[in-house]
């Protein structure tokens, strides 16, 4: 799994450089998210701008990150959803669960 992490005091941005998230790499995504949260960040932004396709196991991996962030009282935000990816959140109603912003720059750090 090709991820890029950009950490600062205020937030970590995890950029997913994969066109496709499915059962083949969802486990790795889950681990990457947990690692990023274990580093103690308060706000984790997961940027999906490169992702064209996500299946239910990819959504499950993101949910696992979201729940882990909640436990640690960290904020978990998704950005850069392409139309097909967004429609997967809508079909499964997970767009109501996640905090979703258009661009990384749109996420206000201390709201």
């Amino acid at each position: 799994m090709n991820v890029e992490i950009d950490q600062s005091d205020a937030r970590s941005v995890l950029r997913l450089n994969e066109e496709r998230i499915d059962a083949h790499n969802a486990g790795e995504l889950k681990n990457s998210l947990l690692n990023a949260l274990e580093d103690g960040c308060r706000l984790l932004i997961v940027d999906l701008a490169a992702v064209h396709f996500i299946d239910s196991s990819g959504l499950g991996a993101l949910l696992s990150g979201y729940k882990n962030a909640n436990l640690r009282q960290a904020r978990f935000v998704l950005t850069g959803l392409q139309a097909r990816v967004r429609s997967m959140f809508e079909l499964t109603r997970l767009h109501r669960v996640f905090e979703i912003a258009e661009h990384v720059g749109d996420v206000v750090v201390n709201p």
Partner: protein, 141 residues
């Protein structure tokens, strides 16, 4: 592509690295349904999703240790009906006992069949002597 008939019978190893290939083959099929009047891009995406979910389940839940671990995928168009079959050789399961509702917000699993049911007109699962078959149908309008 011929108006009313189309069949494709595909076998790939039962490993998740093949999911992206079977997904894009399903997209290829949709792109070639010349006579489909709806949104072909959307259909291609939806077939990618349901094939990825169904083949993913066959790999995760449906592989038997005794058999060569291959998954068989058939895609067929008969008249205005599209039929997708995914064959597995595992223990099988009872589709009717699964709720048709969307899983709880925080459940990590269980959205595969929900997606297949949402995007196709019907989904069924039957056990046969030769193995199990998940069948999904969609009317092409």
């Amino acid at each position: 592509m011929h108006k009313n008939r189309f069949t494709l019978d595909l076998r790939v190893p039962g490993r998740t690295e093949y999911l992206s290939l079977v997904g894009s083959i399903a997209e290829c099929v949709a792109q070639r349904l010349d006579h489909y009047r709806g949104d072909r891009e959307a259909l291609a995406f939806h077939l990618n999703v349901v094939v990825t979910e169904a083949v993913g389940n066959a790999i995760r839940h449906g592989l038997s240790e005794h058999q060569q671990s291959r998954v068989r995928l058939c895609i067929e168009v008969r008249g205005d009906e599209l039929i997708i079959e995914v064959h597995d050789r595992g223990q099988g399961f009872d589709l009717c006992s699964l709720s048709e509702a969307c899983p709880d917000d925080l459940d990590e699993g269980g959205r595969g069949l929900f997606l297949m049911r949402s995007l196709m007109d019907s989904v069924s699962y039957r056990r046969t002597r030769a193995g199990n078959v998940l069948e999904m149908r969609k009317r092409l309008r």
